[in-house]
């Protein structure tokens, strides 16, 4: 039996609403330790504030699914997944944004390291994804172009 995508989304929307209420409470408590990273206005500062001085290694085991050219810069869909074992954190940075750290997700042991969201991009930029596993950081970079309208044909 296949539940239709729409019904599935509706069910999810219901549970997400109740989840959202719960999420507010720890959010307040956690704000103190993430604030510096989210407020940093430079990529390196944001990474340092979030992860300290851990070594960073470029990795091909992180897949970023995002458009090469955004249909709408205010609303860029991105999916990040990785096959790196023991992932505890995934963060997405957009260096040209006023605050480069867009999102940071704690990955719990039973969670699949596969996250989707929509992010805002001020203009054409790299999207930098940092994944933490053990005491190491892994990085993948992907350019997303934001255009002012084209003349294709």
């Amino acid at each position: 039996m296949g539940i239709s995508r729409r019904d599935f989304c509706k069910t999810l929307a219901g549970s997400a609403a109740s989840l959202a209420v719960l999420a507010v409470i720890p959010g307040r408590a956690l704000a103190s330790w993430s604030e510096k990273a989210f407020m940093a206005d430079k990529l390196d500062d944001a990474i340092a504030a979030k992860y300290g001085g851990l070594p960073i290694e470029d990795s091909s085991a992180i897949e970023i699914k995002a458009p090469e050219i955004a249909e709408n810069g205010a609303f860029v869909p991105v999916t990040v997944s990785t096959t790196i074992p023991g992932v505890t954190s995934i963060s997405i940075f957009v260096p040209v944004n006023f605050s480069p750290l867009v999102t940071s997700i704690d990955v719990l042991p039973r969670m699949k390291p596969d996250v989707s969201m929509r992010i805002r991009m001020a203009k054409t930029s790299n999207m930098v994804v940092i994944v933490k596993a053990g005491n190491k950081l892994y990085r993948t970079v992907r350019e997303v172009k934001v255009t002012i309208g084209g003349c294709g044909g």
Binding site: R5, I69, E71, E143, T147, I148, G149, C151, G152, G153
Partner: protein, 585 residues
């Protein structure tokens, strides 16, 4: 001058004897035989048509003399023009093939060899190629840009072309300009279309799906079937669709607000793998509206596709470009535009795999292929209600008028001149489309020909004040869409055309650093902070307030008896003088 049939064939034969394209050798090297007689080869025959832009009647279309390729694309197909092209494919100058594939001696050769294309002539050729091979073993594929580009396609919202495709016998197609009608109109056209319409890279946006938008598959979100399996005799061929990935960026998203596009190469690889393991076809092919450079890159990344039948960039490429990838080899083709060519590949199978092929990109010489009576009757019926409007003479061409080229064409100059004059503007901007036919000197310019250059669903004009900085931003943005070193970041199309100003461009420079030396026609440097009155058309973001651009151009032409374009606002080019994709002679 008209050639007798024998004279025509003799010239073709000579070209063949002088060393022809590999694919043509077998047919054309036989003195006096015709190029449409193909050697018997293989198990299935796949025919390919693309980017006809609804040109029902035979047309003139001058191939570009400027089609730059940079980086890895420099000096390789499709970025070869004029003599570089003729040398690469061993085509004799002055031959009918030289006329079909290049702009060398265009005016003389156009008078000699006549118009190409026209659906009645395409039908005659396609029927013959089906009949000779065995129609149960052939397919006709269409890579899109078929349902837009003429007055009749516009007035019928694409539905005249659906009738044409049905009579021609298009088996499978994908799209781009097909999506510039409203979703309800597109769905009506698709319901009337007798073939399969496929696209793996068009999805319903998740929020739209949530609100009940229609999808082919609610689980995957696909708007259309991603692929179809066709049985040809004892063999099976999978045909996957790849629509133009940047439709809602290059064209108005407001017509299709619920749909999202993209190249989606990872999805494509998964789909190919699934088809290969579950359906076990003899061949997997992709009909693509990516454009040739994107297809070449994609073929290097995705394994398991035997042939990509490409369009969008309007490149008439006589032989497939072979790309190696981890899974083997993919052939990348592109079949020109405006109905000038019909691509034909014959595939041979052994052990459930493609073991050999023959490819031909056949020019459709309308004077050599009689019109198919039933197709001609349908075309006449479609045109009849509009005939007096279409045939209205507006002016005479005093010089050759065409569009195609990376930076400018005389017909775009004419559009820019008309926009400036009618709107009292200092500067005009006109999109760098690759469709639009060619008018020979001395020919009458009719309303139909103006529509062939301008007819689309967002033709409204505008006049507005723009600062020098804003104008530069537009030029830089479009230049990056054309010259970004990574083809996945290109949108196809050509550089936006300018009227009333000139500039210099270094195509190989980085984004934001290609354009400088922007000056008005009188030589004054354009000031970044000053405002200029700019006219234009075809706004993608929102509907402009002005009249359709064809009214602007028609009014401008009616005021003149003869139109001669002698001066183009062609930019100065920097660091590309040795490029084989450019011939300014």
């Amino acid at each position: 001058m008209q050639l007798s049939r024998r004279e025509f064939l003799r010239i073709l034969g000579m070209a063949g004897a002088a060393g022809m394209l590999p694919g043509f050798t077998s047919a054309a090297s036989r003195q006096g035989s015709d190029i449409y007689q193909l050697e018997r080869f293989g198990d299935v025959r796949l025919m390919h048509l693309t980017d006809t832009h609804a040109q029902l009647m035979p047309i003139y279309y001058r191939e570009p003399s400027v089609n730059l390729g940079l980086g890895t694309a420099a000096g390789r197909p499709p970025h070869l023009v004029t003599r570089s092209f003729l040398d690469y494919y061993h085509i004799t100058q002055g031959s009918s093939l030289a006329y079909a594939f290049t702009p060398v001696n265009f005016i003389d050769l156009a008078k000699k060899y006549g118009r190409l294309g026209g659906y009645a002539h395409i039908k005659t050729l396609a029927d013959r190629l089906r009949g000779e091979f065995g129609s149960e073993k052939t397919l006709l594929l269409d890579s899109g840009d078929t349902w837009q580009g003429s007055g009749t396609a516009f007035w019928s919202r694409g539905s005249d072309m659906v009738e044409i495709c049905n009579l021609l016998g298009v088996d499978v197609m994908t799209g781009h300009w097909e999506f510039t009608y409203l979703e309800a109109e597109i769905r009506k056209n698709l319901a009337a279309f007798k073939g399969d319409f496929v696209a793996q890279n068009v999805k319903v946006k998740e929020d739209a799906l949530f609100n009940g938008a229609k999808a082919y598959d609610e689980q995957s979100g696909h708007v259309f079937k991603p692929y179809v399996i066709r049985t040809l005799g004892s063999h099976r061929v999978a045909v996957i669709g790849q629509a133009f990935p940047y439709t809602p960026i290059a064209n108005p998203a407001r017509f299709i607000p619920d749909w999202t596009f993209g190249i989606n190469s990872a999805d494509l690889q998964k789909l190919v793998d699934t088809i290969r393991s579950k359906e076990k076809p003899d061949a997997v092919v992709l009909i693509s509206h990516n454009g040739m450079d994107v297809d070449i890159k994609l073929a290097g990344q995705v394994s398991g596709i035997d042939v990509i039948f490409g369009g969008h960039t309007h490149d008439a490429v006589p032989q497939p470009f072979e790309v190696r990838n981890p899974g083997g080899r993919t052939l990348v083709t592109n079949a020109g535009s405006n109905g000038k060519f019909l691509g034909v590949i014959d595939l041979k199978f052994s052990g459930g795999k493609v073991s050999g092929y023959r490819y031909h990109l056949l020019p459709v010489f309308s004077e050599e292929l009689p019109a198919h009576p039933e197709m001609q009757a349908l075309i006449d019926r479609i045109r009849a209600p509009y005939l007096s409007k279409l045939q209205e003479p507006l002016a005479t061409a005093g010089s050759l008028l065409y569009r195609r080229g990376n930076f400018d064409g005389p017909f775009d100059q004419l559009i820019c001149d008309a926009l400036r004059q009618r709107n009292d503007a200092q500067i005009a901007l006109s999109p760098g489309f690759r469709w639009g036919t060619t008018i020979l000197p001395g020919q009458q310019i009719t309303m139909e020909q103006v529509l062939e250059q301008t007819c689309m669903t967002y033709p409204e004009t505008y006049v507005r004040d723009m600062t020098g900085q804003q104008i530069k931003a537009v030029l830089e943005d479009v230049a990056d869409n054309l010259f970004n070193p990574d083809p996945f970041y290109q949108q196809g199309g050509d550089m936006v055309r300018v009227g009333g100003m000139n500039y210099r461009i270094d195509p190989g420079a980085s984004m934001g650093n290609r354009i400088d030396e922007m000056r008005l026609d009188n030589g004054t440097l354009i000031d970044a902070s000053r405002s200029y009155r700019v006219a234009g058309w075809a706004t993608v973001g929102s509907k402009s307030p002005g009249e359709p651009v064809w009214d602007t151009v028609a009014a401008y032409l009616r005021d003149r008896k003869q139109v001669e374009i002698r001066k183009l606002n062609m930019p100065l080019l920097k660091n590309v003088s040795a490029n084989q994709g450019m011939d300014l002679s």
